[in-house]
């Protein structure tokens, strides 16, 4: 029992790293653009399929492939923001942006079905099915590498946000769009690049998700996005640190519940979300009140 629990906690933390990476992208997009990117889930799957295509057709290593897929997803993100998100304005912008990103998700999902079909696939590499014996547990290499990658990328995002001029303009835009504009921040450029960055991290998240999970198909995006949304709302919208903590915590909790009730473990996500919002409508680390956004 004890070892099972420890294993669940380790799995939860390793998985939490990946979810943290994807959730940070989502919450960053929310913070700067004030929209919820419903397409984030299917973009993760798109990232996974890009890695899949590279590894199957070009026999490129999964991690090396990221050098191509991350910039590719960044460009896709910027294009989507400029073409479909930026033109939205007016008092219905919130719901419009939700629908627009939902529509983007549907189109990407349909395109993935067209190109790759509905069958589940997994990403393969020499290290995917091997594991290392550490502290009395067999830990798959891919989970360890994935966790390391997530830590590096989240750290990179942190450094960018808090140590660079561009990061400062992102934070300024998150705090007050109008004021940022007044002091000379090119808000449109920041919005496009932030959307690009938020989407680019899904390439890395998708690769690890596709390699470590039990396979994926174009439909897997729905499950992902609902978890990611629960995570960032739980954390408090726009809170990056909160997204990290919430991801670690929820994935660990899910993995513990999974020991007894595998069918219901995902329900923990949503139940926790509902419970937290009943007590604290701002989410755990939210600055602005969800009530009065």
């Amino acid at each position: 029992m004890g070892t099972e629990l420890t294993r669940a906690v380790i799995n939860g933390i390793l998985g939490g790293g990946i979810y943290a990476l994807m959730a940070v992208g989502l919450t960053l997009i929310f913070g700067v653009l004030d929209i919820i990117n419903i397409a984030q889930g299917v973009m993760v799957i798109l990232g996974a399929y890009l890695s899949y295509a590279l590894s199957v057709h070009l026999h490129l290593d999964l991690f090396l492939g990221l050098l191509i897929t991350v910039p590719a997803m960044f460009v896709i993100g910027v294009i989507i923001q400029v073409a479909f998100i930026r033109p939205l304005h007016g008092s219905e912008r919130t719901s419009m942006s939700l629908l627009a990103s939902y529509a983007v998700a549907i189109i990407i999902e349909g395109a993935l079905y067209l190109f790759f079909g509905p069958n589940y696939v997994t990403l393969n590499a020499s290290y995917v099915n091997k594991s290392v014996y550490l502290l009395g547990f067999h830990l798959p290499y891919i989970d360890l590498y994935g966790f390391a990658l997530a830590v590096v990328l989240v750290a990179a995002i942190y450094v960018m946000l808090y140590r660079t001029t561009f990061g400062r303009s992102i934070r300024a835009t998150m705090q007050d769009r109008t004021a940022a504009m007044l002091v000379g921040v090119d808000v449109n450029r920041v919005a496009a690049l932030t959307y690009g960055i938020g989407v680019a991290v899904t390439a890395a998240g998708g690769m690890i998700f596709g390699a470590s999970g039990g396979g994926f198909n174009p439909n897997s995006g729905y499950d992902l996005i609902s978890r990611l949304l629960a995570l960032i709302i739980l954390a408090g919208l726009g809170s990056i640190g909160g997204a990290l903590v919430a991801s670690m915590f929820m994935l660990t909790l899910e993995s513990i519940v999974d020991i007894w009730q595998p069918n219901w473990s995902i329900a923990v996500f949503y139940a926790a979300l509902v419970l937290v919002l009943l007590i604290k409508p701002t989410g755990l680390f939210g600055r602005q009140a969800a009530r009065a956004q």
Binding site: H89, L114, Y222, A267, A292, Q293
Partner: protein, 400 residues
């Protein structure tokens, strides 16, 4: 219809709205009434003229979606709380009917007695759902509705004792020949759809409807003026949920089977919202029009392309086109064009007084969506009908 009780927020505006409508334009009114009668005749004789099973199936599904879209709009469109979880009610209605028919051994036409039961179950589910979700606004509300939706889908999958899990439930068998089966279901769906439109219309003109729209425009201001926001929102949510549940049960009897992924379908949430957006959010006729366009188009695409993925991509592209090029929806856009045209014809003088009449039942122009000029016109018209209408009718700036 226009609430009788004495009045904080919307009463004067309600009186104003009624007044403006009754001033009317007789020829326009007559033409409108004629069109409505023609449309009614057309929908009534439709199944007699077309007995092709494919056509009648599409017609039935379209009516179900008219019902669902109008019901969705009478909560989300009027209150501004965009729900992406209405499939909870649709699925719950279907499952409630299915479970009751199985456990109470109801067979044949007696199944229709379960329709009100399904509506009540869906409405009862809407109470705790609303109490949790309506505490938060905007994005958070949307996400909560999605989360609760997934909880319900999960329950349908996992509570196998109740729902049969992935196998789903079957409806009682009806001994009707195919043609009269389709016709009878068509008329039931027609009655349901017309009833829903009537309820939506009644709510829109009522004090309750004005309170909802005041909440949409500025909830804190509405609350400070005496609108009891939570009960008002919850009531609309429950009405909307109950109707959606009823539609779900009827759909289940027609389709004959409900599965977790067909009853609780995320695309349902999105499609219903899109129908309302396409037609015009917060208008009476808009969601109906949206459903009449989108559902047949969707069914047609599905049958035309053997490849359902291509039709999915086209559907997504249609969504995007609506959001980008028709952000206010068909009815308000056309109404604005129409009143702009009237404006030119009559000269600018009497615009505030008559501009609103041109758009008939579809007064989307009071939504405060859209260009400053139009918002200004409608604000001016409303200001003319009493100062207290301000919170319900003034336009708000961009959200961010």
């Amino acid at each position: 219809m226009t609430g009788q009780a004495s009045p904080p927020a919307g009463q004067a505006a309600a009186a104003g709205a009624r007044h403006r409508k009754s001033v009317g334009w007789p020829a326009g009114r007559a033409a409108q009434a004629g069109l409505i009668v023609l449309a009614l005749v057309a929908v009534v004789i439709f199944p007699l003229a077309f007995t092709n099973q494919q056509v009648s199936t599409i017609a039935f599904l379209t009516l179900i979606f008219v019902c669902a879209a109008v019901a969705w709009n009478l909560f989300s469109g009027y209150s501004g709380y965009i729900s992406l979880g209405h499939a909870v009610f649709f699925g719950s209605g279907a499952y409630a009917a299915g479970i009751a028919a199985r456990d109470w051994h109801i067979t044949g036409t007696a199944e229709f007695a379960l329709l009100p039961f399904a509506a009540v179950v869906a409405a009862l589910i809407a109470v705790p759902f609303g109490l949790v979700a309506l505490r938060v606004r905007r994005h958070t509300f949307v996400v909560i509705t999605i989360a609760i939706f997934f909880i319900f889908q999960l329950m349908a999958f996992n509570l196998t004792g109740l729902t049969n899990g992935t196998i789903g439930l079957n409806a009682p068998f009806l001994l009707w020949d195919p043609v009269s089966f389709d016709q009878r279901f068509y008329y039931m769906a027609l009655v349901l759809a017309l009833g829903t439109v009537a309820i939506s219309w009644l709510i829109k003109g009522s004090r309750f409807g004005l309170q909802l729209r005041a909440i949409r425009d500025d909830e804190d201001r509405a609350a400070s003026l005496g609108v009891r926001a939570m009960p008002v929102k919850l009531t609309a949510f429950v009405i909307s949920g109950g109707i959606t549940g009823l539609a779900g049960a009827l759909w289940f009897f027609f389709i004959n089977q409900v599965l977790p992924q067909s009853g609780f379908d995320p695309l349902f949430d999105l499609t219903v919202a899109l129908m309302a957006f396409l037609g015009g959010l917060g208008t009476v006729t808009g969601p109906m029009l949206g459903a009449l366009i989108i559902e047949p188009a969707q069914q047609y695409l599905t049958t035309q392309f053997s490849n359902s993925y291509l039709s999915q991509i086209l559907l997504g592209a249609l969504f995007l086109a609506v959001v980008l090029f028709l952000p206010r929806g068909l009815i308000p856009t056309v109404a604005a064009k129409g009143s702009g045209w009237l404006e030119q014809r009559r000269g600018r003088q009497d615009v505030p007084a008559t501009g609103e009449d041109g758009d008939g039942g579809a007064d989307g122009t009071d939504a405060g969506i859209g260009s400053p000029a139009e918002a200004g016109t409608s604000a001016a018209a409303d200001a003319g009908s009493g100062d207290t209408s301000a919170p319900a009718a003034t336009s708000k700036g961009p959200a961010s």
